[in-house]
């Protein structure tokens, strides 16, 4: 039986969306959520927070999602952490690209906050199934 998912790191530059995601994941899903506003911030805080799963926005100023993913992988202990992209860009070639870069799945934006937690849970279970 897989480990229960409790700690999620969410990287998103838009504060309003951060707030909604926090509500959706913490209030509705009961997860412990750490939110970072940029890829750089995530690289700094991830080692201390030790998330079990990372939600990563693709389009961000500065360091974008895929770059952040690559850097995170270089941090010891993050080589196999499931990383899920959250993006509006979900054409088949784009999705294939994300998966090739090491993402386990993609949650299309705009996401439905009422079902976000269950979507994340499903992905988690899929990874440890």
């Amino acid at each position: 039986m897989a480990e229960r998912l409790t700690r999620i790191l969410y990287v998103e530059d838009e504060p309003d969306i951060q707030a909604i995601a926090r509500l959706a994941l913490e209030t509705l899903g009961g997860f412990t959520v750490e939110i970072c506003s940029s890829g750089g911030e995530a690289l700094v805080r991830a080692p201390d927070f030790k998330p079990q799963l990372i939600l990563l926005d693709v389009m961000m100023p500065g360091m974008d999602g895929p770059t952040t993913l690559a850097k995170l992988r270089e941090i010891p202990g993050f080589a196999a952490t499931p990383i899920v992209f959250m993006t509006a860009k979900v054409q088949p070639s784009e999705v294939a690209g994300y998966k090739a870069s090491g993402a386990v799945d993609v949650i299309p934006k705009p996401f439905d906050p009422m079902t976000l937690s269950s979507q994340v849970q499903t992905i988690w279970e899929h990874c440890h199934g």
């Binding site: 838009e14 909604i20 995601a21 509500l23 959706a24 088949p92 934006k109 705009p110 906050p113």
Partner: protein, 824 residues
């Protein structure tokens, strides 16, 4: 005194008459000699034109001349061949082989060169004797032959006794020779001519027979004798018209004259004197009176004289002959006139003749038809001014003046140029019909001349050029339209070389006319268009269809540009390609604008999604109770906001899909998929939506093993669209039934409802963007108006098709079909 005066007048007239007779005799002889020369030249022509003339051909030629009828007095026409001594035996053998076993060149004996009469037609009677005779063996003949051969001209011999004189009274004779040279050999100097000499065309003449032929049944008003050479010697006498048996000319004629005939290098002297008959004619006062009537008395008057005073029957005979001649001539003239009349009256051209002052003399039927006048209204009464535009005539007069031909603006405007030219003068005019209406003509005026070259009439031949003018105007209009067209037009010939391009072409490409004309349009190729495009282009054009497409071409300065091009082939009357026509529009700018528009829409839509995510997310959380219970009054308002935020997101998604489709950027991940799985998934996903309308879905049947090659997500989008539409447009409590079936190699999925269906007038545009049957539907039913348009595009991109049948309020079916994918 009066009698004396009359007497003197009579003598003077007699002298004039005598002179006329002399001329008549001399001219007749000279004319006939010329005619005979023509026959010989014709024979020589036959040899010149053909490498060899055989006996049969020669016979045919002479037969056609009908010598006996047309040239009485000519003995025959023959060909005498030159033979070198070395060739003599071979020649004789060849002739014998031809069917003349006794043939020989005569006389026998050795000579430096031989000639032999090998053809002489008609090959009968006296002429048979001449066969094989070497005329050059005899000095008189040889002399004439040598002259002819050396000069290349016709020559006649001195007086000879013809070999044909075998029986009966021997007549004086002479021969005429025309040399024949071998084809292709130089013959410009006497030596070259001798070398090239092949032989002679010749005619032997018996002078008495010849003269009888020349004089016919003429009344002998003069006697004459012909002497060979310049002197009247008895040896040289060739002919006497009086008594052939005595050959003497009676003494004491009133008038006498000596003339010479110089012909073909030879001279004959002719002694002429008046006959008693002639003299008697001038002793009758009646004749005096007749003769006194005019100085230049015609032959006819003279004939009358003869008729009155000479032997009646002879005169009658002569009159008969003349009448016959006149009748024949008149008949010929009548036939010729009838033919011309038929041509003139049957012609489509307007044919009008005038006298030299412009008075109309004839006016053909076509002229009547075109101008509305009857010939009788104009002929002898009016000039062509009656149907010309006087303003035009004045203008033409000024033009002629400016061109150095000053004329009054009257008939001379038409005649002046025709007078100067030997051909016709052609100019365009406007003709005015009797009813005042006008039409354009092209008029050619020719001056008609009499035998002396004096102009005695003008002939005008006009062509109605209404249609031509109309066609020209039409053509000018079209040319102008093409020239000024805002798109490029290029015309190439059948070989593909450029024959025409309009101004726009130069503007677009930067080339100048001389850089383009005659070249192949591939000069514009950028090298960036794939070869298959050109291949399919040519296949289309050569199969007779119009090709439409886009090519990326290159301007003179190297810049690339996009052209939208229509090309088609123009066929000639035989169905062969005569030209290629290309209409091309530079769409570089348009494509840029379209791309910018799409990019703008894409950017705006993406930008809208971020705030929409927040709005819908917040509202969803509130509606979901995350923020605690709402006051009762607030709940419906938040619901409204939430529902509309959902709609806004759908709209943005649809717009982005549409943009992707139009930009050709929508991606498809096509792989074989089980149809029923996807269909059931779609039914499940949309069930909740349908329940809003109190509508249920019912799967009618299954095709468990049906596989299709599709992008699964896109197919789900298609099903979602059709299922949601059916639910939305069903009556509440209704059921949407879904059927699947195999139709040949295809799988059809049909979504059926019993709703109000699709109004007739909307059916044509149901798949268009933002099309909704009722513009209030957007509000009532929700939806973006893009759904079916996107659905259709997606279906077609995946190789499928979409369609519908609708019986309003009974049954409406939307169906999609895809080729069935092979199993396994």
């Amino acid at each position: 005194m009066a009698w004396n005066a009359l007497r003197t007048q009579s003598e003077s007239n007699a002298q004039q008459q005598f002179e006329l007779h002399i001329r008549d005799v001399i001219d007749s002889i000279e004319d006939r000699l010329r005619q005979h020369e023509q026959i010989l030249l014709g024979g020589a022509g036959l040899f010149d034109a053909s490498s060899s003339v055989d006996r049969a051909e020669w016979r045919a030629y002479i037969d056609r001349l009908n010598l006996k009828e047309n040239y009485p007095g000519i003995e025959g026409v023959g060909f005498s061949r030159i033979i070198k001594p070395a060739d003599l035996q071979a020649h004789i053998l060849a002739m014998r082989k031809e069917g003349y076993p006794n043939y020989a060149v005569r006389p026998s004996g050795e000579r430096p060169v031989y000639t032999s009469i090998i053809y002489l037609e008609p090959f009968t009677g006296r002429n048979l004797v001449a066969f094989g005779y070497d005329m050059m063996s005899e000095v008189t003949r040889a002399k004439a032959m040598r002259v002819a051969a050396a000069t290349g001209k016709t020559a006649i011999s001195a007086k000879v006794k013809l070999v044909q004189e075998t029986h009966g009274k021997a007549q004086a004779g002479f021969l005429m020779y025309v040399p024949v040279y071998r084809r292709g050999q130089p013959a410009s100097t006497p030596d070259e001519r001798w070398t090239a000499l092949e032989g002679f065309i010749f005619s032997p003449y018996r002078v008495d027979d010849l003269m009888a032929g020349i004089l016919g049944i003429r009344v002998p008003m003069v006697d004459f004798a012909i002497f060979d050479g310049e002197n009247e010697t008895e040896d040289g006498r060739m002919f006497s018209s009086t008594d052939a048996s005595t050959g003497s000319i009676r003494g004491g004629p009133k008038m006498t004259s000596l003339r010479t005939i110089s012909a073909y290098g030879h001279t004959w002297s002719v002694r002429l004197q008046s006959t008693p008959k002639f003299e008697a004619g001038f002793q009758s006062p009646l004749n005096v009176a007749i003769l006194a009537l005019g100085g230049g008395i015609s032959a006819l008057l003279f004939l009358l004289t003869s008729f009155l005073i000479s032997r009646r029957e002879q005169a009658e005979q002569m009159a008969e002959q003349m009448t016959r001649d006149i009748r024949t001539n008149q008949e010929k003239l009548r036939q010729s006139e009838a033919r011309i009349h038929a041509i003139v009256e049957g012609a489509e051209h307007l044919i009008i003749t005038t006298d030299t002052d412009g008075l109309i003399q004839s006016f053909n039927r076509s002229a009547e038809n075109h101008l509305g006048y009857l010939a009788g209204e104009l002929v002898g009464k009016l000039t062509p001014a009656a149907f010309h535009d006087s303003v035009e005539v004045e203008r033409r007069a000024r033009e002629l003046f400016a061109a150095g031909t000053p004329v009054e603006p009257g008939f001379e405007v038409f005649a002046a140029r025709a007078r100067q030219l030997f051909g016709g003068d052609t100019h365009e005019w406007t003709y005015i019909r009797k009813d005042g209406s006008r039409f354009p003509v092209s008029l050619t005026i020719t001056a008609l001349r009499d035998g002396q070259g004096e102009i005695n009439a003008f002939l005008g031949i006009a062509t109605d050029i209404t249609e031509r003018k109309h066609a020209e105007a039409e053509l000018r209009k079209l040319s102008l339209a093409i020239e000024q067209s805002p798109v490029s037009v290029m015309i190439a010939n059948a070989k593909g070389n450029i024959e025409y391009v309009n101004t726009k072409f130069f503007e677009v490409t930067g080339y100048t006319p001389h850089e383009v004309m005659g070249r192949n349009p591939r000069m514009l190729q950028s090298g960036l268009t794939p070869g298959e495009v050109y291949q399919s282009m040519w296949e289309t054009i050569l199969s007779g269809r119009e090709w439409r497409g886009m090519l990326q071409n290159r301007k003179k300065n190297g810049d690339l540009f996009w052209e939208e091009i229509y090309i088609s082939a123009i066929l000639d009357g035989n169905g062969k390609i005569a030209n290629f026509v290309a209409v091309k529009e530079d769409i570089t700018e348009r494509l840029k604008v379209e791309r910018m528009k799409r990019e703008f829409i894409s950017t705006v839509s993406h930008e809208l999604r971020t705030p929409l995510t927040s709005i819908r997310g917040s509202l969803a959380l509130i509606v979901g109770g995350v923020a605690g219970d709402l006051p009762a009054a607030a709940k419906p308002l938040v619901d409204i906001a939430h529902r509309n935020s959902e709609r806004l997101i759908l709209l943005v998604n649809d717009i982005l899909d549409m943009e992707k489709i139009e930009a050709g950027k929508m991606e498809f991940d096509i792989r074989p998929a089980g149809l029923m799985d996807l269909l059931k998934q779609a039914l499940e996903a949309n069930r909740a939506y349908a329940e809003q309308f109190n509508v249920g879905y019912e799967l009618e049947n299954e095709l468990p093993d049906a596989m299709v090659n599709v992008d699964a997500n896109r197919l789900l989008q298609v099903f979602a669209n059709l299922l949601s539409n059916a639910a939305k447009f069903s009556f509440t409590g209704g059921t949407v039934r879904i059927g699947v079936e195999r139709i040949g190699q295809r799988i059809r999925v049909a979504v059926k409802d019993n709703g109000p269906g699709i109004p007739e007038e909307f059916r044509d545009r149901i798949f268009e963007k933002f099309a909704q049957a009722d513009s209030s539907d957007t509000r009532k039913k929700g939806g973006t108006g893009l759904g079916l348009s996107i659905t259709k595009a997606i279906v077609e991109q995946m190789g499928g098709s979409i369609g519908f049948d609708s019986q309003p309020n009974v049954l409406t079916t939307f169906y999609v079909e895809f080729p069935e994918a092979p199993k396994g």
